[in-house]
C-alpha cells in the first residue's frame, strides 16, 4: 500500500511579495496617489446628494457654489451625475475642456466657479454611452463610471480650492461609490423635498452616511414652502413635512429650507443661478445663508 503524497505547497497571493510581480495593483495605487494629491489642495469637499432623483440637487449645488464664491472663496463644482449632467448648463459654462500644464483645465461659470461636467466632453444631446461588448454591460459599466469619476476628480487642474462642490446623481449606491473613492467628504448635504416619497428614499441615504461615520451632514429641504405672489402668504407646498420628520428620525439637523420659487428653476436652468440673478428672493436668501454657514464652519 502506498502512502498518499503530501499536497504540493503553493504560495498564496500574499506570500508572493516579489516587487514588480503585480503591475495592476501598482497602477491602482498610483491612481489613488494622484487623486489624493489633487484633493490635498482642496480645503473642503462638499457633497450634495439625496438618493432620490428630481429633488433639485443640481440647482442647489449650482446656487451654493456661486454663493460660496460670492463670499470670496475659490470654488470648484464637479458634476458627478455622469448620466444626467446639468451643472455646467446651470452655471452657464460651455465650450471645450483644454489641456493645461497640470491637467485638464476646468471651464468657468457664473461667479467664477470652476466647473467640470460630462456635458463639456460630449456633443449636445449625446447620451452617455460607453463602448463595450453588448453582453453583460451591467458588469463593466459601473467600473467605467467609477473610473470616469476618478478621472474627473484627479485629472482636472482644480488648483487650490476653498471648496469643491460635488453634485451627485440619484441612488444611495452613488454615495457608497464616492466614499470608496475619496473617503468621507468634509460636508455632506442630503437634499429632500417635503414629500413622503422623498423622505422614504432620503432616509436610506441618512442611514448609510450615519453607518459610514460621516459627521458633518445636514438636511436641505427644497420646495419647503410656497408664497402667493399676490398676497405673500406662505404655505406648505406638500401635505407632508419630510425634512423635519427626517431630522427627528435620523438625528440630523435641517440646515436649509428653500421655498419653492419658479424663478429658482427658470433662472438656474438658463445659467443664471438665482443667488446672482435675484439675491433678495427668499430661495436665494436661504441658499446664501447655507453658504454662510458652510463658509463659517
Amino acid at each position: 500500500m502506498t502512502e498518499p503524497s503530501a499536497p504540493r505547497r503553493i504560495r498564496t497571493y500574499h506570500q508572493v511579495a516579489d516587487p514588480g510581480a503585480e503591475s495592476i495593483v501598482e497602477q491602482v495605487v498610483d491612481q489613488g496617489r494622484r487623486l489624493r494629491e489633487r484633493l490635498d489642495r482642496v480645503k473642503r469637499v462638499v457633497a450634495v446628494a439625496s438618493g432620490k432623483g428630481g429633488v433639485g440637487k443640481s440647482a442647489i449645488s449650482a446656487n451654493l457654489a456661486v454663493a460660496l464664491a460670492a463670499r470670496g472663496g475659490t470654488v470648484g463644482a464637479l458634476d458627478a451625475d455622469l448620466n444626467g449632467p446639468s451643472l455646467a448648463r446651470m452655471l452657464g459654462a460651455s465650450g471645450r475642456l483644454a489641456r493645461g500644464d497640470g491637467g485638464v483645465e476646468p471651464a468657468h461659470g457664473a461667479g467664477g466657479v470652476a466647473v467640470v461636467s460630462m456635458d463639456l466632453l460630449l456633443p449636445e444631446d449625446a447620451p452617455l454611452r460607453w463602448r463595450g461588448p453588448e453582453e453583460h454591460g451591467f458588469v463593466w459599466q459601473s467600473v467605467l463610471e467609477t473610473g470616469a469619476l476618478r478621472e474627473l476628480l484627479s485629472d482636472v487642474a482644480w488648483g487650490d480650492l476653498d471648496v469643491l462642490v460635488l453634485d451627485l446623481p440619484p441612488g444611495t449606491d452613488k454615495l457608497a461609490r464616492l466614499f470608496d473613492l475619496i473617503g468621507t467628504p468634509d460636508v455632506l448635504l442630503l437634499v429632500t423635498t417635503p414629500s413622503e416619497a422623498a423622505r422614504h428614499v432620503v432616509a436610506k441615504s441618512a442611514r448609510f452616511v450615519a453607518e459610514a461615520g460621516a459627521e458633518q451632514v445636514g438636511l436641505v429641504t427644497n420646495m419647503a414652502t410656497w408664497s402667493c405672489p399676490h398676497c405673500g402668504i406662505e404655505e406648505p407646498l406638500f401635505a407632508a413635512d419630510a425634512g423635519r420628520r427626517l431630522a427627528r428620525e435620523s438625528g440630523l439637523e435641517v440646515w436649509a429650507e428653500v421655498p419653492f420659487d419658479p424663478r429658482f428653476a427658470a433662472d438656474t436652468d438658463e445659467g443664471f443661478p438665482l443667488v446672482l440673478s435675484d439675491p433678495e428672493r427668499p430661495a436665494a436668501r436661504a441658499l446664501s445663508a447655507l453658504a454662510e454657514r458652510l463658509a463659517g464652519g
Binding site: A21, S23, R99, V104, L122, R129, P133, E135, V143, D155
Partner: protein, 142 residues
C-alpha cells in the same frame, strides 16, 4: 493577479500582450526559472473590465494621459479634448483605419499605438506606423 510557476515556485514575468481584434486579449507570462510560458486569455467582457479600470496588464511604459479613460471609452466623446500641444496626433488615414477595430477595444488599441509612438519619438501615427507597431507588438488584425 500574479502568476506563479508551481514547479519552480517563481513568479512568472510579463512577456507580451496580444489583441486578436475580436475583443479578446492574450497576455503571455514566462517563468524566469524554467522558461515555461502561459497565456492569460480574456473574453470581451473581461477585456472591457480590465481596460475600464484604467490600467494596463503588464504595466505602463508611459504615464496615463488626463481623462484617458473617459476620452477613449465614451461614445461620442471629444477625443482630441485636452490634448497637449505636440502630443502624438493621428493622421486621417490612421484614424479611419482605427475605426475598423471593435469599438470597445478601440480606446485600448489607440492607447497602445500612442504609447508605441511616444516611446519612439513619433509625433504622428500614420498607417505605416500602425503596420510597424502591429509587427512589433503583435496587434494582429488591428
Amino acid at each position: 493577479m500574479k502568476f506563479l510557476c508551481v514547479d519552480c515556485d517563481s513568479v512568472m514575468e510579463y512577456v507580451e500582450r496580444r489583441l486578436p481584434g475580436d475583443g479578446t486579449m492574450a497576455v503571455v507570462y514566462a517563468c524566469p526559472g524554467c522558461g515555461r510560458e502561459t497565456a492569460l486569455l480574456t473574453n470581451p467582457m473581461e477585456t472591457r473590465m480590465v481596460s475600464g479600470l484604467g490600467i494596463e496588464v503588464g504595466g505602463r511604459s508611459v504615464p496615463p494621459e488626463p481623462l484617458e479613460l473617459v476620452r477613449s471609452s465614451l461614445e461620442g466623446a471629444d477625443e482630441e479634448a485636452a490634448l497637449r500641444p505636440g502630443q502624438v496626433r493621428w493622421s486621417g488615414d490612421a484614424r479611419e483605419r482605427l475605426l475598423s477595430v471593435p469599438s470597445f477595444v478601440r480606446g485600448m488599441v489607440k492607447r497602445i499605438y500612442g504609447e508605441y509612438a511616444a516611446e519612439r519619438g513619433i509625433t504622428e501615427i500614420t498607417p505605416a506606423v500602425m503596420d510597424r507597431a502591429r509587427t512589433d507588438l503583435g496587434l494582429e488584425g488591428m
